[in-house]
């Protein structure tokens, strides 16, 4: 495969990811509406929101780093998308691997943290402290899963993982070979998506303790974009590890949305956890299940 | 001369040693210490002479009609002469020290002198006194004995 094709792939993959991410946001809000007996937003509402935010008249910035943070947040995910193989496109997945992806996806969090820090808003700092703590929480089960996958598939190259699963059919899917890890992974992804009960740090609406509190206009828009990418990345990774990746686009999409739908439909029936409860709820069962899963996978 | 009487001589010498050494560890008075030392050394010297003693043998001085074969070993006698003089020197010096100590501290009691000495050493070194009465027993164990008023 020559460099031109690769470069085009690299250009296309983030776009695809963004579109799918928008759709996921839409679905998320629809589900919420259904549960709360509302009509819910129209089809393009998520896109409209972003466009509106970018087009706002007054754009307040607390300085260069405030913007840089958002750039890092969006750019980091754009880069991350090129490492997530989708049907027909592998990007640089074989040059980076699952582990690298995991660490690249930490950069947006760092960027967000830096941007918020620059705002010099005390509540912002609190929110960041909580966000990073949450990251510490859900990354533990996440890396356990990464380990399990790498052990089972004999490497952390996602392309090989997908290939291995597609070769053997459903019986060889990750979910079949390491069911416990799949459950733990669901938890981890759930926490990663930052929906109830794990969304104490975004809490934008009530007393302003969220990192978004200083974010308006482009900044918030950037965060929305980031959220789309986040949804896609998390689900795509889960699908590639456990659900055999995408044989073709329709199947792939189905899997993706199914994976996102599960936590979303749970999310809105939960209250919000305090930070320490987040730690506890992610560290107790998911981690135990994950370790058990690894043990199972290794014996 | 029989073995038993020889061992009586031995007993005598060692008795002196025992008495002297006992005094050396028991008495606190400087002068008595010197005396005890003298007694003990006397015992030691007697023992040394005994090392060359033969019953019935004569003093090792050539005189008409005295067989060299029938003389006691002269070497220990020479040695004992030396050690006696050594003892005298040391005791004299010890006495001198005792006199000075009394002149300086007005006492001949070893414990008190020792207390004063420790106090002087600490004072000269500018070190704090070793241990107070309130210090735990373990610290006082290492501390100086408190000088009597």
């Amino acid at each position: 495969m020559n460099t031109i094709e690769l470069l085009t792939e690299l250009a296309v993959m983030p776009l695809v990811a963004f579109v799918i991410g928008l759709a996921m946001v839409l679905m998320m809000r629809k589900i919420a509406a259904k549960i709360q007996r509302r009509v819910g937003p129209p089809l393009l509402q998520p896109l409209y929101d972003i466009v509106k935010l970018y087009a706002k008249q007054t754009q307040n910035s607390h300085g260069l780093l405030h913007d840089i943070g958002i750039v890092m947040a969006v750019g980091g995910y754009i880069a991350a998308e090129t490492m997530v193989p989708v049907p027909g496109m592998n990007g640089i997945a074989d040059k980076s691997g699952l582990l690298t992806l995991a660490y690249v996806t930490m950069i947006p969090s760092l960027g967000l943290a830096l941007g918020v820090g620059q705002c010099a808003n005390p509540n912002g700092s609190i929110g960041i402290a909580r966000a990073l703590t949450a990251m510490l929480a859900y990354d533990v089960p996440f890396v356990i899963i990464i380990f399990g996958a790498a052990w089972v598939y004999g490497g952390n190259n996602m392309i090989d993982m997908i290939a291995a699963q597609q070769l053997g059919g459903i019986a060889t899917w990750g979910v079949a070979r390491m069911p416990l890890l799949a459950i733990a992974g669901l938890f981890a992804m759930y926490a990663m998506l930052g929906k109830q009960p794990f969304e104490i740090y975004v809490a934008p609406a009530e007393i302003a303790t969220g990192p978004m509190v200083e974010m308006g206009g482009k900044h918030l828009g950037g965060l929305f974009v980031m959220q789309c990418f986040q949804l896609f990345t998390a689900s795509a990774v889960y699908v590639s590890i456990f659900l055999g990746g995408g044989e073709n686009w329709p199947l792939f999409l189905v899997k993706l949305f199914a994976v996102v739908a599960i936590p979303m439909s749970m999310a809105f029936v939960f209250p919000r956890h305090r930070t320490e409860d987040v730690l506890l709820s992610v560290w107790r069962w998911p981690v135990l299940i994950g370790l058990a899963g690894v043990w199972l996978a290794m014996h | 001369m029989s073995q038993s009487s020889l061992s009586i001589l031995l007993l005598g010498a060692l008795g002196l040693v025992g008495i002297g050494v006992g005094g050396l560890v028991l008495s606190r008075n400087l002068y008595r210490l010197v005396l005890a030392l003298a007694v003990a050394e006397t015992g030691g010297n007697l023992l040394l002479v005994l090392a060359g003693f033969r019953p019935g043998a004569a003093a090792p001085i050539i005189e008409p009609g005295r067989a060299v074969a029938a003389m006691v070993d002269p070497v220990p006698q020479a040695m004992v002469l030396t050690s006696i003089v050594i003892g005298v020197g040391v005791q004299a010096f010890a006495l001198g020290l005792a006199i000075r100590a009394r002149a300086a501290y007005g006492s001949l009691d070893m414990d008190e002198l020792r207390g004063r000495m420790e106090a002087d050493i600490d004072a000269e070194a500018g070190a704090p006194p070793a241990a107070s009465q309130h210090a735990p027993a373990i610290a006082r164990l290492a501390g100086q004995p408190e000088a009597k008023p």
């Binding site: - | 040394l48 020290l97 000075r100 050493i121 070194a125 500018g126 070190a127």
Partner: protein, 491 residues
């Protein structure tokens, strides 16, 4: 070379000491140093000769074992040299009138006695010289500052005399068993005569008796108080010189006369305890002078441990440690002359006299055995000697050496930290020029040794071999070259 030169080692300083009060005032000051210089020359000459073959002198031409023998091997020669040089270094230059004369003649007598201890080959003669050294050092110690010194010395005298008494018992016992006091003769008879309970008992009595001066554990309680009260000059001589000669004598006896089972173990245990107690006590010391006293107890414990290792390995290690300590501890005591007080008294002293502080650090590091300073090689020899032995007791000794070195580092660096502390308004005294000069010379020697270590190592080995050669000793002493005018016949 006429072997009678050996007699001068003793006779010359004594002569000077006797004559000193009679010499007219102006010349009086130079007599002592001159004699010591001559003694240095003799020492060098002896070193040259003895490193080829030991020198034997039958005093008064009376063939051993009847008469007294002086035996100079390279170790003895080296110690003679050291005696002369150290006495010169710590010579009482200043002082008022008669006291100065007395101190000078006592120092000369000390030199004579130490020389005698180094060269004498006769058990009772050793005892006499030991007593001479004892009385001289009593006098010097008591001549120090104030009455506290005299009390301390009195306690020292009592302990020392009891020790000498014990040694005398030991000698008596040996005489009972063998009927001779000539070391070579004893070495010949020992395997048959000096065995079993009485032999070991005699060794124990002599060890504990002469151990008093060697700061052997159990009989060294005098050291801290004496060193704390005597003039540092005297402390340096006692800790640096006298203790080593007592040690040397004990080792000669151990090698020649008492190669019994059990003696090495006894020496090891005593040395081990000495090192343990000394170093730990120094850790708690509240002033530098007593700290040094305890640390020298510890170092001598190390030396005893080294000599307790059987064979030449032990001798090499022991000689190395003894010589190193003989070099380092005097220098430290010199510096402690002004900086002998509590840590509070010396805070920030390095600012006032940086050179002195640097010297202190140098010697401290060598004492700790930091390579490439000589102290390291001494420690290395000691440890490898101990490690070479099979079995627990020796390894325990090695462990103790390692642990106590850590303690040593803590208290020495406590002092260094005080010297270099930067808090203003310190009351530290300047270091005296003489102390800096003296310790500077010793430091130069130390560095030279450090640089020429590989060469000196060979010399050390040869010395040890010569010292451990019992048969050579016996044959050389008991079959000497026929004297000019033969008197009597050997038995």
């Amino acid at each position: 070379m006429n072997p009678s030169v050996v007699a001068l080692v003793v006779a010359l300083p004594l002569l000077a000491a006797f004559l000193l009060p009679l010499v007219p005032g102006s010349a009086r000051r130079v007599v002592g140093p001159l004699v010591l210089l001559v003694l240095t020359g003799i020492g060098m000459r002896l070193w040259d000769v003895a490193s080829v073959a030991p020198v034997v002198l039958a005093v008064g031409d009376f063939l051993p074992p009847l008469g007294i023998v002086f035996y100079v091997d390279s170790v003895a020669a080296l110690f003679v040299l050291a005696v002369a040089l150290l006495c010169l270094l710590f010579w009482p230059w200043a002082g008022e009138g008669e006291h100065l004369d007395r101190k000078q003649s006592l120092t000369l007598i000390l030199a004579a006695a130490c020389g005698g201890l180094a060269v004498s080959g006769d058990l009772f003669n050793v005892y006499v010289f030991y007593e001479l050294a004892a009385v001289a050092s009593y006098g010097l110690a008591a001549g120090g500052r104030g009455a506290a010194g005299q009390v301390a010395t009195f306690r020292y005298v009592i302990l020392g005399s009891l020790g000498s008494l014990l040694a005398l018992f030991g000698i008596t016992l040996v005489y009972f068993m063998t009927g001779t006091v000539n070391l070579a003769h004893l070495a010949e008879l020992a395997p048959k005569a000096l065995v079993g309970v009485p032999g070991l008992a005699a060794f124990l009595l002599i060890l504990l008796g002469l151990g008093v001066k060697a700061e052997l554990f159990l009989v060294n309680a005098w050291a801290p108080e004496v060193y704390a009260t005597a003039e540092t000059r005297v402390s340096a001589l006692l800790a640096g010189l006298v203790s080593k000669l007592a040690l040397l004598v004990l080792v000669r006896l151990l090698v020649l006369v008492f190669p019994l089972p059990g003696t090495h173990e006894a020496l090891l245990v005593l040395g081990l305890l000495g090192m343990l107690t000394g170093e730990l006590a120094a850790y708690k010391a509240r002033d530098v002078r007593r700290m040094l006293a305890w640390s020298s107890i510890g170092q001598l414990g190390a030396a005893f441990m080294a000599f307790s290792v059987p064979g030449d390995a032990g001798l090499v290690a022991g000689i190395a440690i003894a010589l190193h300590h003989m070099l380092v501890k005097p220098a430290l005591f010199l510096l402690a002359g002004r900086w002998g007080g509590s840590l509070g008294r010396i805070a920030g002293a390095a600012r006032r006299s940086p050179l002195g502080a640097v010297l202190f650090v140098l010697f401290a590091l060598s004492l700790l055995g930091v390579p490439p300073l000589p102290g390291f090689w001494a420690k290395y020899l000691l440890l490898s000697g101990l490690a070479g032995q099979p079995g627990g007791l020796w390894w325990l000794g090695g462990l103790v050496v390692l642990l106590t070195t850590v303690v040593e580092a803590v208290y020495l660096f406590r002092v260094i930290g005080a010297l270099y502390s930067r808090d203003e308004g310190s009351v530290a005294a300047d270091q005296s020029a003489t102390a800096v000069a003296g310790s500077g010379m010793l430091a130069a020697v130390l560095l030279v040794i450090a640089l020429s270590a590989p060469v000196l190592a060979g010399t050390l080995d040869r010395m040890a071999v010569q010292m451990g050669d019992v048969d050579g000793y016996v044959t050389r002493v008991l079959t000497p070259p026929a004297p000019a005018v033969p008197i009597g016949v050997a038995p």
